[in-house]
Symmetry: C2
């Protein structure tokens, strides 16, 4: 008889819809030879987006410095040599667990420049509080795992949210505390929405330790303004809560301006953990798993002399270090080619073309929604996603059923809104607006046709 | 006043000596300009080991297929093209969370070939039960996290052990159950040693769910024979325990033959999770964080229809996938250049030279021990480590003091035995035998001098 065992209940119960049953079914259909359009996940290069040439030239050269360099520009050559001289043992050695200091310094300079901080200002980024990670997910896990000290510790997350957060909170045995941005007002929220969520769990003995804010939003795409960020900061300050700002889509704003939490925070003493990644933006280097976590105003830890960041370093050290190519790409992300340098023109051209195309594709799909019965899509466009509300569904059916049927009918793989959480009684789906235009042009009419038939089914 | 918070106690308490206070002090000394020889960790390329040329040629080309290929052999060119044709979206896209099927198939074929399994045999490796991971550490964490379902669940680990295991058990809130290989008999052990450890905790209500075996040993370097492996299997079978076989040093055997757990297990129905990595062996690609976990005979999970491996896949999916360059290197590790192919001769030459040098360096350091007062080193040489016992220390001092003083005096950074666990009353250190020979020749006399003065201090 095979061994029967009990396993960790938190892992059993955690859900991760972005890779759940619908993508699972899509994989089956693909095996059977069906054409699948994987819009379930923000994975640009899986949908034909080309890597930024400059990035790959540098990585290729750093991996094999002895290769033929005839076609390589002096700028790439010098930068690769400089990188290798600082990264003493090349890409093959473990680095410091938080990443080499020179990369963390470059990240700090990038943040200072982005947010207009003078390096002598109190708001200047501190490289000692930066951790280079395998994508942004790893940094989020470190913080949530550390903050949840017991079963009654909670983390506030927006609904809808990216399921990394709900899954990690569940996995760590803490309480998921939902707050509800106002969909009809473009997913905006304010302090009273946050206070309401906090008060609703405080009476049950839950201690809220952190609040997750995703800006630009995932799955909603909504872009926060400075006023909202200010309200989150005031809320966190008053209630002794650590802010976890997921800012991986900071380059993915199309009709608005990105404002970082760090910028609004300035010199104010509120703990902030912000995340960034090489997976999104115009780079889209998901597979390379690069990113960073920056901690500002780390809280004091009760019962120990160890600092908050020292404990994060200990977490990072157990798996030794983030992968070095992800680290190199993070370095390149914060270190774009200088204006006027050899690769500059091509780099900027590729960047603009990718961002413009994303903007156009989002607009195309939004136009399509207008031809679908009872579909509304709120908020400005940001990130890589649209999150339309399905106001009409056949009686008794759910957005899960809708997405599954959409997949079976058109090959379009999306994720049901319930996978991200949504206000009770509402139905949505998330679509990543990444497929090439010609594919959108082809599938959109099929989707519209499917939709209008499906929702009007008796 | 800054925020004061309570954090996860398990993370606070977990220890990871390999990156603990002694390496911390070494980093400080280095900043001050001292020459440090980092033997605290198996990080070959940090000590001058060159990457395998073939691996880097392929990675470089796959990262930038448009590069100049004048100096690239047809074999490398074809292999890179073939890889890219199978890895449809290149290195920039997320892969399946367990890794692409073609890489998992290649791993399964490697295991079958290594262990002499016919692909039609019941012992043949199943690609569906293989997970490509960021180094081997990640796989070990998945399994331990899954097995520990409550505070009274325990995992058996050898003492001394690699602190990934003690740290992860602590982090997951389980019980660390020690078993003690017999140092004076070359770190061998048998079933009665295992039964003793099990019985000592069973009476306290601890349920042992898994047993970790590190072969070749870390930190001891000891290589297990088939008979011992058989006893572990019988023990696990009788007591319903999952075997976690850390086999990352399988290429690092110098005077013995490596026998895998899978080979000895054959078709027998005992759950086995085995780990391998691109960080060790002759490849030493630590920074790239590649590796795999293979599960055999997955146990049934109580209270669910989900399979054990389906739940591991869910764990892997939360961070989306292992980094793709680590995946490519894992593919190359299990897919060496064919005999007679262009890169073959250079590949084999590099491999042999690295392994021979490791063997010589271990022998040099062992010779040095003979000139140190009351130092004994047991077991055959394996892995990348020697773990000598310090039978004489100044009264009241510990192996931690010894290693710290050794560092301050000679720049040699080792790890104290207590960082790995050791039988009470004994003292050790672990040294990675990786520095270039000329460096060993220089530092060894200094160490001998330091040692004989230090241990005879009044």
């Amino acid at each position: 008889m095979p061994l029967h065992i009990k396993v960790n209940q938190n892992i059993m119960e955690m859900e991760y819809a972005v890779r759940g049953p619908i993508p699972g079914r899509a994989a089956e259909l693909k095996k059977q030879g069906r054409v699948i359009i994987p819009c379930n996940i923000g994975n640009p290069q899986a949908l034909g987006q080309k890597p930024i040439t400059f990035y790959r030239q540098v990585v290729s050269l750093v991996e094999d410095p002895s290769r033929n360099t005839d076609s390589v520009s002096d700028y790439v050559l010098d930068l690769s040599k400089d990188f290798l001289s600082k990264m003493e043992s090349g890409l093959g050695a473990y680095t410091e667990s938080n990443g080499p200091l020179f990369i963390r310094k470059a990240i700090a300079e990038f943040i200072n420049k982005r947010d207009g901080f003078d390096s002598s200002s109190g708001a200047s980024s501190n490289p000692d509080n930066i951790f280079i990670t395998n994508g942004a997910s790893e940094g989020a896990k470190y913080i949530i795992d550390l903050l949840i000290a017991g079963k009654t510790d909670g983390i506030m997350i927006p609904i809808p949210q990216y399921p990394l957060y709900s899954a990690t909170i569940k996995k760590c045995g803490g309480v998921q505390v939902n707050y509800y941005p106002d969909e009809d007002n473009g997913w905006t929220f304010n302090r009273s929405i946050l206070e309401e969520a906090l008060n609703s769990v405080r009476k049950n003995g839950v201690t809220v330790k952190g609040i997750v804010v995703i800006n630009p939003g995932n799955p909603t795409g909504a872009v926060l303004d400075e006023k909202t960020i200010r309200e989150v900061i005031d809320f966190a300050k008053k209630n002794n809560i650590v802010i976890i700002a997921d800012e991986v889509y900071q380059e993915n704003v199309y009709n608005a301006k990105f404002v970082s939490f760090a910028r609004v925070l300035g010199e104010e003493d509120v703990p902030l953990c912000s995340l960034h990644s090489v997976s999104k933006g115009f780079y889209g280097e998901c597979g390379h798993r690069g990113g960073y976590l920056e901690v500002r105003n780390p809280p004091k830890v009760l019962g120990t002399d160890m600092s908050f960041t020292r404990i994060i370093l200990k977490q990072a050290s157990v798996c030794l270090c983030a992968n070095t190519v992800g680290q190199l790409l993070t370095y390149l992300m914060v270190n774009s080619p200088e204006e006027g340098s050899d690769p500059y023109r091509q780099f900027i051209g590729e960047k603009q073309s990718i961002l413009n195309e994303l903007k156009d594709k989002a607009a195309m799909i939004r136009e399509g929604f207008k031809q679908m019965d009872s579909v509304e899509c709120f908020g400005r466009t940001g990130a890589m996603y649209l999150f339309p509300r399905l106001n009409k569904l056949p009686k008794g059916s759910t957005d899960f059923d809708y997405c599954m049927n959409l997949l079976e009918n058109t090959g379009l793989c999306t994720v049901n809104g319930s996978g991200f959480g949504q206000k009770e009684g509402t139905h949505h789906l998330r679509i990543a607006f990444l497929p090439p235009k010609r594919l959108i042009e082809k599938v959109l009419p099929e989707w519209i046709k499917f939709h209008n038939e499906y929702v009007n089914r008796k």
